[in-house]
Amino acid sequence: MSEHVDHGPGFYVKTWGILLVLFAISVIGPIAEIRWLTLITAFGVAVVKAYFVAARFMHLDIEKRYINYMFATMLLMMLLFWGGIVADIGAHRGSNWVRIAPSQVQAPGSLSQPKVNAMKVEQSDETTSEEPTIESEGH
């Protein structure tokens, strides 16, 4: 295998120590109840921990470069996917459309029967009569 500098087991235990310290930092946030600190420490620390595990434990630092490029592309795909749909799924409203809050989403049965349109109802009856199974109007 490629002869990089020969890490003893101590090297890994040291990395493990660093990871625990980082983990401790990320837990301080929720205890201190400071919201912005929590978010920064939690996600910042997560990225740093992921770097340590990937680089040192998975030996990605000495692996061929295009393997790292492959992981970077996969992550970029997820970033692209996030970027593509956050303006749409994450938004309350956009140009010409509004999201109805879950509580006001009408259940199908809630709409009252149409007030008018008696003649339309018979007329549409006979067009759908030859389909035996479907009931003709709404439900």
């Binding site: 990395t15 990320s26 921990k49 393997i67 994450g90």
Partner: protein
Amino acid sequence: MGLVQPIATRRSATGIPTGKLAVWWLIGSEIVIFGGVLVSYIILRHYHADWTEEAAATNVWLGGLNTFVLLTSSLFAVLAHYYMEKRNDAKKASMYLWLTVVGALTFLVVKSFEWTHEIQHGYVMTKSLFWGFYYTAAGIHGLHVIAGAVIMGIIAIQIRQGKHYNRVELIGLYWHFVDIVWIFLFPLLYIAK
């Protein structure tokens, strides 16, 4: 087993052994799968401000304990690889592999306590969409932990029989990936309150 390993498997035009290359690609495809769930979760979390008090019911301590357990099991996995690779000491490597499997089992035990506690308090999967994501994401991750532990046990036995020494590294890589997924799951599900 009747199969003779084809010559193709032993060739390595890229310089990376075939088994390791396959595991890299497996991890690549797993990134995209976990990414799909987490991106959908992050976006809907961004949309639903009301999920914060739902998330308040998650137990940071047990989540933290699990993070510690997984980090330690990652250490054992890399030590197993170290002893196998550098010292060619199958016995020690196998011991560390079994320690990693023990770490995986503790993770699952802690998770089962956590989940039963939450389910008893009514935070079931269908309570709200946050809990839907919580159980889906942690559930898929849990399945990967189980799969990793089983394979690791098999490999630990195999290297004691003197076969497949290279597989210690492969299962180690997979295990580190499962740990990295949890490193991201922990803040997303537990800390983001």
